[in-house]
Symmetry: C2
DNA sequence: CGGTACGTTGAGTCATATCAACCATAGTGG
DNA sequence: CCACTATGGTTGATATGACTCAACGTACCG
């Protein structure tokens, strides 16, 4: 992990602007993060932390994409969420004071700030607006988790795959040519949907012959989003 | 809903003792809840609030059992959690300031205190210990939701049913004769596991012939918990 | 006594998992 | 430079878990 001329982001040009969870911190508090944080650079495949480990802080993603997953029986990953620029991860373990219930692994080369737990506790204690924002964030995530439980329990793999594609569009956008701005292996897609890799492959090529998407390796081009939404039964 | 001589519980004899999320509130704050809360009595089948509605407060269960569920496609319920004495529900919607993402319905006749949102906001603002406890609660629930996503995505119905039974034992205990202290319809069981009613029926009678449980209507007697744990692949 | 909700069982079907073989690509080391 | 290996992608054949549909039993309730 050579780091030649690493540009370390300053918090006050970074998180605050983005309407992030830090938006209600005071100048002094931001300055404190800026002082105590540790900027780290990761490459694809690097692990930020492992399921079961105790962590002494949380992470704020500056750039890149991280996948957050649980490891199920016989090692199969279940991807719980992705984190991208502006998102924080591992705060759940810090706040519930439990070992990490997930592993975080880099999907696209990333720059991440590590912020010690102490600061999180301090801000929650001192700054009730921040406290409220954190609560809002957590509760929102809980709501999404509940929705996902229902989906996974009730929808078919086909519906779920379509829905995941819609979610990825919402979270990562598509470029001017219609290409989804995140590329995942078929296995990773399977590990979000909760199915076998082969099923994802088959369904993707089904979507392709139905002219809903086009495929170029890992790049997915969205042709008919409306129809995908219809298939997914998803109204969000 | 006739209420003759309703005994309204006093908060200081109630929640605080129980090592609940309210344990770090001051005497004055507890008194405030006691003053502003509204005690309500519900019978089996009554609905506390509906998915999609805006709610102006949250609920603290004094006695009884409530099921909290989302309604999926063609009206099939997905039970997310149960709430019993000492548990609070609907706080998620209040804190995230979103409409309720679940419906809450009574399973066993219940007494419930309704506490207006304002108090929750106030306590989070004024009392950082409480704020931290709420955060801990939410984050813990989020961890459980994540675990459940993984289970539902990766385990078979058989494994999940066994696991649910174990969870129910942990949450609701068994009486001196080994009977699980919560009784659910087969359909409700199916709506936790995320499967069809018929599948639950078949698997339960399978468990019965394997001498893992005995069945008396809705009452489930636990014979071989160890084996159920083994089947469920659950280590918690 | 009929009605409604719940429980049970059997039979047939289908979506999805599993297993296996094969190809493409890229990185590695001798 | 070429085998060698690992990783990811694809396709086909086969197996099966779980759902659906349907019929029927049971029990409680007004």
């Amino acid at each position: 992990m050579k780091q030649k001329e690493v540009y370390i982001p300053f918090c006050d040009h970074c998180a605050v602007q983005r309407n992030s969870v830090f938006k209600n911190l005071t100048k002094e508090e931001i300055e404190l993060i800026n002082f105590e944080k540790e900027f780290r650079i990761y490459k694809r495949g690097d692990v930020l932390y492992n399921e079961g480990s105790r962590i002494s802080g949380f992470y704020c993603v500056n750039r890149g994409i991280i996948k957050v997953f649980k490891t199920g029986i016989d090692g199969k990953e279940q991807i719980i969420r992705f984190a991208k620029s502006g998102d924080i991860i591992a705060y759940r373990s810090v706040l519930s004071n439990e070992p990490a219930c997930t592993t975080a692994k880099v999907i696209e080369d990333a720059g991440v700030c590590f912020i010690p737990s102490g600061l999180l506790y301090k801000f929650i204690k001192d700054n009730s607006s921040f406290s409220m924002d954190m609560m809002k964030l957590t509760c929102h995530e809980l709501g999404e988790a509940n929705a996902y439980i229902t989906d996974i329990a009730q929808k078919t793999v086909r519906e779920r795959l379509a829905e995941i594609i819609i979610h990825l569009i919402n979270d990562f956008d598509i470029d001017s040519e219609g290409y989804l701005q995140i590329s995942l292996t078929r296995e990773e897609l399977a590990n979000i949907v909760g199915t076998a890799t082969e099923s994802v492959i088959r369904l993707l090529s089904e979507f392709k012959s139905d002219k809903l998407i086009e495929l170029n390796g890992r790049k997915i081009k969205i042709i008919n989003q409306k129809m995908l939404e219809k298939i997914s039964n998803f109204f969000g």
